[in-house]
């Protein structure tokens, strides 16, 4: 378990992290979401030791992080960077060696990774000659070359074309399946919704929600329903305890007030004509996000 424990940090007078705590479980993809400036990058930098925390600590397998442990972390910073004049392969090998690999191991992993990321034929080219999307793939390789035990990736999908997103997602899932905790931040909620097993939501420097995605959904689920029936919307509006939030021809989405009986409503609807569908609506991540960050 990779645990962030009561971490606070200020820059000057501004406190950017307030008592931040959450855990990233091995073998799971954890999405880290928050608005710009919410504190995602600062948290990740502290996890990697690039920044110091004012208070609190980060632990891995119940022990405070040391540089030796961090050597086995894979990190992709928000601000991307590579040596523009170095060739792709030299660069990845070098970064692998900085993480303590032997030259031969670094070479072998580099070749395998570049092939996996469809960069094999370009291994000898200088990074500055690549398109931005391909540079992004090299960046992924830089984070993965040393077979990290833990992955911390800051916005790994920004700047990737949809095809590359699929490749990268595949690689990350492999790592998670092999038992690594994978933490990735993103402001693209649809991507996070599709990928993550667990979710951490941060706003204004404090954690607003954390846990398995499905639990969060269930927990924040409003008494919201969708119905598909002829003339449903117009009829629903007059029912007590019903607030229509969306209507679209025969389909309507509505919230029920506390204590209102959904089954009674369904029976009433059936007496008026055929009902094609009726059921509760699970909130989207965007809706949960909006609710917990307000």
């Amino acid at each position: 378990m990779l645990t962030v424990d009561a971490v606070s940090r200020s820059f000057g007078d501004r406190q950017v992290l307030k008592d931040v705590s959450f855990a990233v479980a091995p073998g799971r993809m954890t999405g880290f979401v928050g608005a710009n400036g919410a504190g995602k990058t600062t948290t990740m930098r502290i996890m990697l030791g690039v920044l110091a925390a004012d208070s609190g600590q980060v632990t891995w397998r119940d022990e405070p992080l040391t540089r030796e442990m961090r050597q086995r972390f894979g990190y992709m910073p928000e601000e991307r960077g590579l040596y523009p004049k170095m060739t792709i392969a030299d660069q990845i090998v070098y970064l692998g060696r900085l993480h303590g690999m032997s030259a031969a191991d670094a070479q072998r992993n580099t070749t395998a990774l570049l092939d996996r990321l469809d960069l094999g034929p370009r291994a000898g080219e200088q990074v500055e000659k690549l398109s931005l999307g391909n540079q992004q793939r090299v960046q992924i390789a830089a984070a993965l070359v040393h077979d990290p035990e833990v992955l911390v990736l800051d916005e790994p999908f920004s700047g990737l074309d949809p095809l590359a997103v699929d490749v990268v997602v595949g690689v990350l899932r492999e790592r998670a399946a092999a038992g690594a905790p994978v933490l990735f931040s993103s402001h693209q909620l649809d991507v996070v919704e599709r990928l993550c097993d667990d979710l951490v939501i941060i706003a204004d420097g404090s954690i607003r929600a954390a846990g398995p995605r499905e639990e969060l959904r269930a927990g924040y689920s409003l008494p919201r329903f969708a119905i598909e029936a002829e003339g449903a919307a117009a009829w629903l509006r007059d029912q007590p305890g019903v607030t229509v939030v969306e209507e679209n021809g025969r389909r309507a989405v509505f919230d029920l007030a506390d204590g209102a009986d959904d089954q009674a409503l369904l029976r009433a609807a059936l007496t008026r004509g055929p009902v094609r569908s009726f059921g509760p609506v699970a909130p989207s991540l965007a809706e949960i996000f909006r609710e917990v960050t307000q």
Binding site: V50, L51, L65, T66, P77, L82, L98, H99
Partner: protein
């Protein structure tokens, strides 16, 4: 991985990149060319002993004894013709009279006249030409090397900052390993370049048949110059790295490094213009910023006692340690501040990273 192992990896990359860098290769070749030109060319251009034409055999014997190249002419008129045609530089005709085109050939005159006995009161004094050239060359070498290599250190630090790769590096290895690797690599390259130039100059002096007295002085001078050079270079190298870290973009380096440029330039010009001012030179040869230049000069001129360079070296070593600390703190304090130029004060106060 230890900090040392990490620093070695960083240094190895730095050296590999530099050895492929066209600017570096060009500057090395350029300096080597200068070294060859200044040691071998004078001898080549000198063209050997003066040629003199003579008809009289007694005079011919005297001239030959003086080591001149003698050509025997059938008569005085023929000897004069040889001078006018430019086949010889001078002729000795009846009288005896010396003929030459536009300049009196002092060696020919000397060979024919009875010189009064000469007693040299300071036989070890150095030829004024060398007395100026050697110190100037050493001062220039230190100045240009610490300046250009210093700039390269700053640029290489700024490059990592500007391209943002620094965050990956800092997440993998200690900041001090990055700094130490870079400084070690560039020091090694600078030292290598200087040693190569010294070697070429030395071989050049052998080929050029330099006055053995001067050669005997240059040897020890270079021997002292190398430790002064190395310590002086390391002293400044970390500060250059700090300056590079203060800048966020290559364009900022010039501004951020101005004080440091002054610290390199002023001692150079001070030594250059005040070489003859003994008390000032004595002070300069102890002040750490100027001692790498001033002390070898005083040694070459025979003005310094045997213990003096050792004291100056010790002072330089102390200064190097202090400057290393300052440079490292500024480097660590500003390396991750990628938004615009960092001020010295901010960098100084900034908290280092964890672990």
């Amino acid at each position: 991985m230890t900090t040392f192992a990490a620093a070695r990896l960083v240094a190895a990359r730095e050296i590999r990149v530099k050895l492929r860098d066209k600017t570096f290769i060009f500057s090395t070749v350029f300096f080597l060319f200068i070294a060859v030109a200044s040691t071998v060319l004078p001898a080549v251009l000198d063209g050997g002993p003066t040629k003199v034409a003579v008809a009289d055999s007694t005079a011919a014997a005297a001239l030959q004894r003086a080591g001149l190249e003698v050509r025997t002419a059938p008569d005085d008129a023929a000897a004069e013709r040889l001078v006018r045609d430019g086949d010889v530089e001078a002729a000795v005709v009846a009288g005896p009279k010396v003929l030459a085109m536009e300049e009196a050939p002092s060696d020919v005159v000397g060979a024919l006249s009875a010189a009064p006995p000469v007693q040299l009161l300071d036989p070890d004094a150095v030829d004024p030409f060398f007395a100026f050239m050697v110190p100037f060359a050493l001062a220039f070498l230190f100045f240009i090397t610490s300046f250009t290599f210093g700039m390269q250190i700053a640029q290489s630090v700024t490059e990592e900052k500007q391209t943002r790769i620094v965050e990956i590096l800092v997440a993998s290895v200690p900041v001090r390993a990055l700094l130490a690797g870079k400084v070690a690599a560039l020091t090694l390259l600078a030292f290598g370049q200087i040693a190569l130039i010294a070697l070429v100059a030395f071989v050049g002096m052998r080929i050029g048949d330099l006055d053995p007295r001067v050669a005997g002085l240059i040897g020890p001078t270079i021997g002292w110059f190398l430790p002064f050079f190395t310590l002086g270079f390391i002293m400044l190298a970390t500060l250059w790295a700090g300056v590079g870290a203060l800048a966020a973009r290559q364009e900022d380096i010039a501004g951020a490094s101005t004080p440091l440029q002054m610290a390199v330039m002023l001692p150079f010009f001070a030594v250059l213009f005040l070489t003859d001012n003994e008390p000032v030179m004595r002070i300069l040869s102890y002040v750490p910023l100027s001692s790498p230049i001033a002390m070898p000069v005083r040694l070459f001129n025979g003005d310094a006692a045997g213990w003096e360079p050792i004291v100056a070296l010790a002072l330089l070593a102390v200064a190097a340690v202090v400057f290393l600390g300052v440079g490292a703190r500024v480097y660590e304090g500003s390396l991750l501040r990628t938004n615009g130029r960092t001020s010295f004060a901010t960098a100084w106060r900034s908290r280092p990273t964890a672990g």
